[in-house]
Subunit: 496 residues, 2 copies
């Protein structure tokens, strides 16, 4: 079928917007890895200008005309899907005024540097006004997007169609089921000596290990690179350029290994997108939770499996001879040990979701104005004491521990838990088709799972909604598969 | 005097253009330091889009209207200067069609990766079609800019008001005077043992030395950073963000020291600009030759002076104890030794200008179509044999040795020689006011010279034209001061 000329014009408009967004992403990468602090004011102006240009293209009346004109036209299937999704995006983007988009982009640049400064000083104060402004702007954005619940409006922006009401059964199940499981894990915890993880692992050697590891799971360095970052992230800068970052601890390899696997999981999704559809819904990640399902699948399902460690262990021994005398199973048990910690990104698989429950609760309160920024550290500490039984040493272990809020990501945290739920469902479906995944991993065979994900998730783009993707893999989203996976992990720990 | 509202509107338009250009520069920095090769096609599209947006603002009819409307208006002195220079820029920019600006921006991105690939393979072939296309586009640009000599049109773009006719007395004097001086240098050359420069200098330690060195001459790291690059460069990404790069040779410190001093010299100019006038002519480098005068002043006048080495030597000894047993004067003589080499950027101060003479000749022939790309390596080798008495080992020592052409810099090379001419004039004027510079340098006092340059050059911006700046310092531009400086260097070498 010959494409409609109006469709082609629409695509050109959309791709120019995508190209400008990719410019903005390149600046963001630079901010997070290279920019000197004194450059932040100009960077904020650059980002605001780009946000305005993106907004102009996203909301251009010509786009609306083309969407209208194409509404009744018979298009190829992918074109029809793109049209449907672009309509949704257009209606969404028209609700947010350009000035707000510009103000948010500017504030996000300024806030990132303030966050980093506050971390250095271990004091919320330098970041507090920026955090207040971010929540103020996100509140304004939420009010533009929906007349309903403010938090739902932002959640929907990360996970189209999702609401706290729909999430409740999953979050409630985890809130109910996890504490007894964490209690049960105490026995294994006391038998495991985490000292086995400690040693002297120079950063350069770890970086090389992590490059090898990222390549081993299929990350393509011809179109990427791996750098260090305080709070690791993955960023796509357009076709052929998707970069990952990791964090290294010179006394413990696991920080580098698991941040790399997590970010490589995101990057495999990006690198697996349908490049012919670049910039269009069919060539885009369908949702943030599906994106997190990919990172958490490689981090947790692959990265913490005994099979994968049978493959990984000889390589670790070659690179770090001191490990040769240690016991692989004891090492992995220490890796998987369940123990509450103040840092979400370093949490074990079970307590992880308690962090998410707290974060959702706190950011909802901040957004609603029920919690003042000044009261944040105390509220944070109180909830951590109640749910995890610990108190952060200072704000770098507390409310400054990650850069989500400074990046304007409010309503994002639910996608981590949902990502784990989706990952468990996808892993189950993959195993039904590919056989026992652990056996594949033990032979270093990551390609079958990766190719399965390419077909079922990566190349699908927005052709299926997030829940449809999961249902197509044979499971309605629920906490069951995740809880089953976590119980199996405890069984394995108990057997050690 | 209250500013005219139309002037303010003009400034806003101009600053938006400058901001977009600074975005493009950020992408360029990323291309040269971080971008994976597979990202190049998308990067070329990003740069073409930005070039189009810059062009749109540079040539916007509203800008023309405002320039017209303000023509007879009484403005503050800086405003009047900005208006005058913006008029010139506008008339210039209107001559180049947007499509050509976009094509050039795209080709420059593609060419940089091809150049790097060709260097890796030591073969012109992968770069040849890009080089042909660059010269074709630059030819088209020159034809748009002027109906006169094509090379003059491009030279004028780097050095406003300059022409080959005006440059001729300087180039002719150097072509006449340098060969006998280079002959004269043979005696000293044979007495100097360059082996004194060799040793084992790990890159990390050199990087730290160069950070110290850049700071010692006044480069502000709060608004900058230092990275490695095959062909070092300085790039300003807007107020508070001016980055430098250097190249290290682990067997010889001089590569790192002199690339750092050269780039720090550029950066001091950028960091010394009048930030209140950012994006406007009064807050910009007046010309590329004045820019090069700053880099070559710090590289050659400061960096090769015996005084500066009295200050530098103890620091080198602390960082590289193997140097402690070497003789400082013998070391500096080896640094300043006059010996033809195929690489311009590593040339001594005398033979350097023979490289420039060859480059001007060759790029004029390429631009005029008198020399085909296919014949470039042979023509290159022949001229190097004739003028410098040597033959490059391969194209990485020949026509691929630097990235100027791949960056679209045709007609730029004259600014190096002119920069040295200006640097000699400025250094002479500074010495008349500040006293013997060498004595200051020996005490590590670089601030007086830097502050002198701040006042007389950096903060002046475009308030004075290049030749006016030099004349204001008391010297009409000629080769005399440079030749006098080079003769003094030979006297010093002969005295050793």
């Amino acid at each position: 079928m010959a494409s409609d000329a109006r469709y082609d014009e629409l695509v050109a408009l959309v791709r120019e917007e995508a190209l400008l967004s990719s410019v903005s992403a390149t600046l963001e990468w630079d901010e997070d890895t290279a920019m000197p602090d004194a450059g932040v004011a100009n960077r904020a102006r650059q980002q605001a200008l780009l946000a305005g240009l993106v907004h102009e293209r996203a909301t251009h009346p010509r786009r609306g005309e083309l969407l209208e004109a194409l509404a009744g036209v018979s298009l190829a299937p992918d074109e029809a899907i793109n049209l449907r999704e672009l309509r949704v995006q257009y209606d969404r983007d028209r609700k947010v005024p350009r000035s707000l988009a510009e103000a948010l982009a500017s504030e996000i640049s300024l806030a990132a540097v303030a966050w980093s400064d506050a971390r250095d000083r271990r004091d919320l104060a330098p970041f507090a006004p920026h955090l207040a402004r971010i929540f103020e702007l996100k509140r304004a954005e939420a009010q533009c997007l929906s007349s309903g619940d403010l938090y739902d409006a932002l959640l929907d922006d990360h996970e189209s169609g999702m609401s706290m009401r729909m999430l409740a059964p999953i979050l409630d199940a985890l809130a109910r089921e996890l504490p007894p499981l964490i209690d049960r894990a105490r026995g294994a915890r006391d038998r495991i000596d985490p000292a086995i993880l400690r040693g002297d692992f120079p950063e350069l050697a770890q970086r090389e290990l992590c490059e090898w590891l990222a390549e081993a799971v299929g990350y393509d360095f011809a179109g990427g690179r791996l750098d260090g970052a305080i709070h690791p992230f993955t960023i796509g800068l357009g076709p052929g350029d998707c970069r990952i970052t990791a964090r290294w601890d010179e006394t413990n390899l696991t920080e580098g290994i698991f941040t790399t696997l997590h970010e490589a999981g995101h990057a495999l999704y990006e690198q697996g997108l349908d490049v012919d559809q670049w910039g269009l819904p069919c060539g885009m990640q369908v949702s943030d939770a599906i994106d997190e399902s990919q990172s958490r699948l490689w981090e947790n399902v692959v990265g913490r499996s005994p099979g994968f460690w049978r493959f990984l262990w000889p390589e670790l021994g070659r690179r770090f001879p001191a490990l040769a005398s240690r016991d692989r199973d004891a090492y992995l048990r220490a890796v998987c040990r369940v123990e509450p910690s103040p840092i979400r990104a370093r949490a074990d698989e079970l307590t992880y979701h308690l962090h998410i429950l707290i974060r959702i609760e706190i950011e909802r309160a901040l957004l609603a104005g029920d919690l003042a920024i000044a009261d944040l550290p105390a509220a944070w500490d109180e909830r951590y004491r109640q749910l995890l039984g610990l108190t952060p040493r200072d704000v770098t272990e507390g409310c400054l521990q990650d850069g989500h809020w400074s990046a304007g990501l409010v309503g994002y945290f639910p996608t981590y838990t949902l990502g784990d739920v989706y990952a468990a469902a996808l892993a189950g479906a993959a195993a039904r088709e590919l056989g026992e995944l652990d056996d594949l991993f033990a032979r270093g065979e990551t390609a079958p799972l990766r190719e399965w994900l390419r077909t079922r998730v990566h190349r699908v783009g927005c052709r299926l909604a997030a829940h449809e993707l999961i249902e197509a893999a044979g499971q309605a989203p629920s906490a069951d598969a995740l809880l089953a996976r976590l119980r199996a992990r405890l069984d394995w720990l108990d057997a050690g």
